[in-house]
Symmetry: C2
Subunit: 331 residues, 2 copies
């Protein structure tokens, strides 16, 4: 069965689509009320975030746009120090999309939400005319989480002697999408994953976290450039310490890509007080999705804030934010 | 200047676009932190909603997609009894879009947010390839509001002797979009507006509100069908009492459209206890955007829940939800 413009009318066909696909997979006490707004319990400081997902292809090795759309928003909430709680789901569906495919994507959202411990409480669907290379669906997820009173994270708090840790291998998601788009056969899988356990383990160890950020569009280079600018520090990273799988390294070499600008969807940078570096590394390594974590750099005082990559043979290269096209539709 | 794929890369061009357009218009203490999540004060019961806007054309008589995207989400929050507080803004922009047009749309969002008393606290932009008849931008807004402890609205609470009030003329938005799409010249303008003052005035008068709903896609017929189903009542409406402007009435006659299935973006249905009907009507009529409010129907007990439209000469017609295509891209 295919999506038709009638599924976007707001009338009987829309309500049938919502019942048969969205309500079926997302079933929970808030969403089941089927109002335009969900009313949920709240308190304290709220974190809010939003992200639209336009990735093509919508199914890719290791994941799909549904899983991605939950991970992206959950991870953004986590990075602000919040406990992710409630998500919204706004779908823009292309006329002619196969309803079985939609069903798989929404099921994947539901499973990922369960894994991440969040509830999808309200949603909206729109149907648009068929175009050429649009992947069939674009998904916005917005999220709300609660921030403990004693947590306040900001890259402005980064100071000398802090240490930079990355939670795992760089570039997997970007390389998987690019492989799919270019029909290159390999075993690279997207790393799309919620970072809940990693952050929980860091919090449980009472690590002195200065700032966290998930490494998505723009890659490590862009995140560290923003951190360096916000804190007025020099951030040093060491090329040989960057975790990249052999297969992604070969893939990058072949295409002339730099892993430090490649997007991930299940990796984060955390900057911690130097005295906590080893404890933080161990806390991440024993988490799901954190087994390849590595300490990749350190922070020094400067009058000239920048990010510098050092090579084993003593080379130095200043790293700016990603400039130019990159690969926009990886998320 | 035109939008390029580089504006979607997540790197320097994206950050420039965000600074020059979004941050400029939305400027506020939460958004200015430029984190992926905004942290805002919270408490009590939260209402959450989401809506994606795909209307074409993006500028139309009386409004634009920016104003629409704020009104839609603010109104959904209001209808749940919440005080709207914080909005997110997720933009999917087409490559080649004129940056001046984008600037106008985002400025319109900022002005409408100010009018409605809400703050846009976080956002996301994606850029996609150029297609044929895509209007240049699609906007998702998600919103959070706080619900007073003593408020609990649900169409399930509708009972016999309740009265149905509509806040103004039906069909304006739908007729304005359709006129634009069909190149029909007339003076019809979209009614896109935030319903904040109407709801505040109803609350201030302590009206016994049973249920509220904004009349958007699917029209009055669809809202009342859902109310009747949820409450197990018969809802009677009277054709000659339905407020429709002369120009929209003529437009509908010409095209064979029925105002009860036409979408609005600044009108609401409120069902109130019969004893409060006149007080509620006056409260709405003295509000901005409520001057044409009318009592259009009543509720009776039944074993066969349905919506019945009565005509002046004694005719009766059962009204179901909108079935079939409607006009999907009106919002």
């Amino acid at each position: 069965m295919k999506i038709t413009m009638a599924h976007g009318s707001g009338g009987a066909s829309t309500s049938e689509l919502i019942d048969n696909i969205f309500a079926k997979h997302f079933k929970n006490e808030f969403l089941d009320k089927m109002e335009d707004s969900a009313v949920v319990p709240g308190n304290g400081k709220l974190a809010m975030t939003t992200d639209s997902f336009v990735v093509t292809p919508v199914f890719f090795p290791g994941g799909d746009i549904g899983r991605l759309s939950v991970c992206g928003t959950v991870n953004d909430l986590l990075m602000s120090g919040a406990e992710p709680k409630y998500l919204t789901c706004g779908c823009i569906i292309e006329e002619g999309m196969d309803i079985d495919e939609l069903d798989k994507i929404i099921e994947s959202m539901a499973q990922t939400a369960k894994e991440a411990g969040v509830v999808i409480v309200t949603g909206d669907t729109k149907v648009v005319e068929k175009h050429g290379d649009f992947g069939g669906i674009m998904i916005n997820t917005s999220g709300v989480g609660f921030v403990p009173e004693d947590i306040s994270l900001s890259p402005k708090g980064i100071t000398e002697n802090d240490v930079i840790i990355v939670s795992g291998n760089l570039g997997d998601h970007h390389a998987a999408i690019l492989s799919g788009r270019m029909n290159i056969k390999n075993n690279i899988e997207s790393d799309n994953a919620p970072l809940v356990e990693i952050v929980n383990n860091l919090m449980a160890e009472k690590i002195k976290i200065k700032a966290m950020r998930d490494v998505t569009r723009g890659g490590l280079g862009t995140v560290l450039s923003e951190f360096s600018k916000a804190s007025g520090t020099q951030m040093n990273i060491y090329k040989e310490k960057l975790p990249v799988s052999a297969e992604v390294r070969d893939f990058c070499k072949m295409l002339g890509l730099d892993p430090i600008y490649m997007g991930n969807e299940g990796k984060m940078i955390v900057v911690v007080d130097g005295s906590d570096a080893d404890k933080a590394l161990l806390a991440i390594r024993r988490s799901k999705y954190g087994e390849n974590a590595a300490i990749i750099g350190d922070v020094e005082k400067t009058d000239d804030p920048k990010v510098v990559m050092h090579t084993e043979i003593g080379g130095e290269r200043v790293i700016g934010p990603l400039f130019g096209e990159g690969l926009p539709r990886i998320c």
